[in-house]
Amino acid sequence: MPSEEELYQEHVLDHYEDPFHRGTLESATHAHEDKNPLCGDVVRIELKLNDEGKIENLYFTGDGCVISQASASMLLEELYGKTVDDLKDFSAADMLTLYGPRLTPNRQKCCLLSWKVLQSAVHSPLAEGGES
């Protein structure tokens, strides 16, 4: 199997072991959590949006397979400092490209979980001092 096809390329495992912004965000204004019920992958994303729609900061927590967690790390790294409009333009296809290795339809679901959660999170404001 050619190495560029490897599902678990080095950069994937790097993100898995050394994720970008895994954790919670005290100052979060928005948050969303979802799971992939078929395999139990869970991702929660908390983020801080400013009035201009800029994603000032964002963090994720979660549990699941390498693809689901590494892809969350990559996505957050990619969108860090970007705007809600940038996120809107960031398609599922873009997410798969960002991930890198080609995925079968079943594994695409793992990879797209965090992408779906983030797309929802920007529309899920946290109630003052409350939970989303």
Binding site: L7, E10, C39, G40, G64, C65, V66, S73, E77, Y80
Partner: protein, 430 residues
């Protein structure tokens, strides 16, 4: 040392059986012949079954029943012969107690809706277990919601067996039906069906056995076990997809209202009313799965030729082998009981590595097909505190070498995903 070398060869079935299965000799990965350990989800088919299906379409096919012409006579005969084969295979008294359905799930729904709809009253209890497949849970949840009946669940012991002390306590005169699997598709646990039926009957309850995982793997005798309803699927026993069985005692099936309405299940139809047909047609609305049923009868011939006792013995060897080796692996948790209480499958969870990684790497690098997920037993997984597990499930065409492949792959996954202090390339200074 290869674990495969240590086994009692005399308990094994000949490897040459694999030659009957065209798919088993295909390479999934270059140089890696298929190691198929996903048999609990669905088995493969021998040439004999594939040919039986082609044959019926090439020589004997027409719609069954009522047809006077030769092809319809022939397909009707083959279809009814298949029913008789199934009858003998499960030890039923009458062929009319054997209903062809689309599968186990459909069989259980039939009983839940027809028997349950007609017999359950508010406060009546249906006793099922925490290890059931969704197909033996959801239909009971649905009919309970409709009738006001209550669902109760027998728990499991520490080691993953049915808690029979709890069963005794939960069983009461309110219990109308016990719905239980003969073998758990996740734990592998073999449940004491004979004990369950005798206790349930003493309490005045009926017993439905979800036999999807037992009928393909060990002898079953519905009369001896005094089972009221038995459900299983063709595709898990070498048969074609699209066919399953509901066995029911004649007196019970006779007293039940029809379920689906349509052609065949009727005696007389007027614009506003109908009278149902006799068994088994009463529960076979519409054109039945003709070729799948006929293919299933070829599967039964094949299984009978090997012998279910021999199949079970063979699988016990593989299970013991896998169990013993997996028990040695640190951080790996085997779900379910010791080999002597289990059938031919082993599910496990690993502390830090998700089941997906096992399934993916075993497939991509070792040509080993296992299943990762909840295996349609979410409540059981929740109870065990895990969201997914990896399952290797055997059939008689697996050999000890296949277990070796599995073990080799598991080692590889372990080292591949062991923490190595990797660092991602920094994009941001944050």
């Amino acid at each position: 040392m290869s674990a495969a070398k240590t086994v009692d060869q005399s308990a094994l079935l000949p490897e040459s059986l694999r030659d009957d299965f065209p798919i088993l000799s295909r390479d999934i990965l270059e140089g890696h012949p298929l190691v198929f350990l996903d048999n609990a989800a669905s088995t493969q088919r021998p040439r004999q079954v594939i040919d039986a299906i082609s044959n019926v379409y090439e020589h004997d096919y027409a719609n069954v029943h009522r047809g006077i012409h030769t092809l319809s006579e022939r397909s009707t005969e083959l279809y009814e012969l298949a029913r008789e084969k199934v009858r003998a295979f499960v030890g039923a008294k009458h062929a009319r107690e054997v209903i062809f359905t689309p599968g186990t799930t459909a069989s259980i729904n039939l009983v839940a809706r027809s028997w349950g709809g007609a017999n359950l009253q508010p406060g009546d209890e249906i006793l099922t277990t925490v290890m059931e497949h969704h197909s033996n849970l959801v239909p009971w949840q649905q009919i309970a919601a409709e009738t006001g009946a209550v669902l109760r669940h027998v728990p499991i012991t520490e080691d993953g067996r049915l808690d029979m002390a709890a069963f005794d306590q939960l069983l009461s005169e309110r219990t109308k039906l016990v719905a239980v699997c003969s073998i758990s598709n996740t734990l592998g646990t073999i449940n004491p069906i004979d004990e369950i039926t005798s206790k349930a009957h003493a309490a005045g309850a009926l017993v439905l056995v979800d036999a999807a995982q037992s009928v393909p793997h060990m002898p079953v005798d519905v009369l001896k076990s005094d089972v009221d309803f038995l459900a299983f699927s063709g595709h898990k026993m070498l048969g074609p997809s699209g066919v399953g069985i509901l066995y029911g005692k004649e007196s019970l099936l006779d007293a039940m209202p029809p379920f689906l309405g349509g052609g065949s299940m009727i005696n007389e139809v007027r614009l506003d009313s109908f009278t149902p047909a006799e068994l088994p047609a009463k529960f076979e609305a519409g054109t039945p799965p003709i070729a799948p049923a006929i293919g299933m009868s070829a599967a039964i011939d094949y299984l009978n030729h090997i012998g279910l006792e021999a199949i079970h013995r063979h699988e016990q060897v593989l299970t013991q082998l896998a169990y013993d080796a997996l028990s040695q692996i640190e951080g790996l948790r085997i779900l379910g009981p010791a080999p002597k209480h289990r059938a031919g499958l082993v599910s496990f969870a690993f502390e830090r590595i998700h089941a997906h990684e096992f399934a993916q790497v075993l497939n991509d690098q070792f040509g080993v097909a296992v299943r990762a997920g909840h295996h349609c037993t979410q409540p059981l997984h929740a109870l065990l505190g895990i969201s997914a597990s990896t399952r290797a499930s055997f059939y008689f065409y697996n050999q000890p070498e296949n277990v070796d492949c599995l073990l080799e792959g598991i080692s590889a996954v372990q080292s591949m995903f062991a923490p190595q202090g990797r660092r991602r390339r920094r994009k941001h200074n944050s």
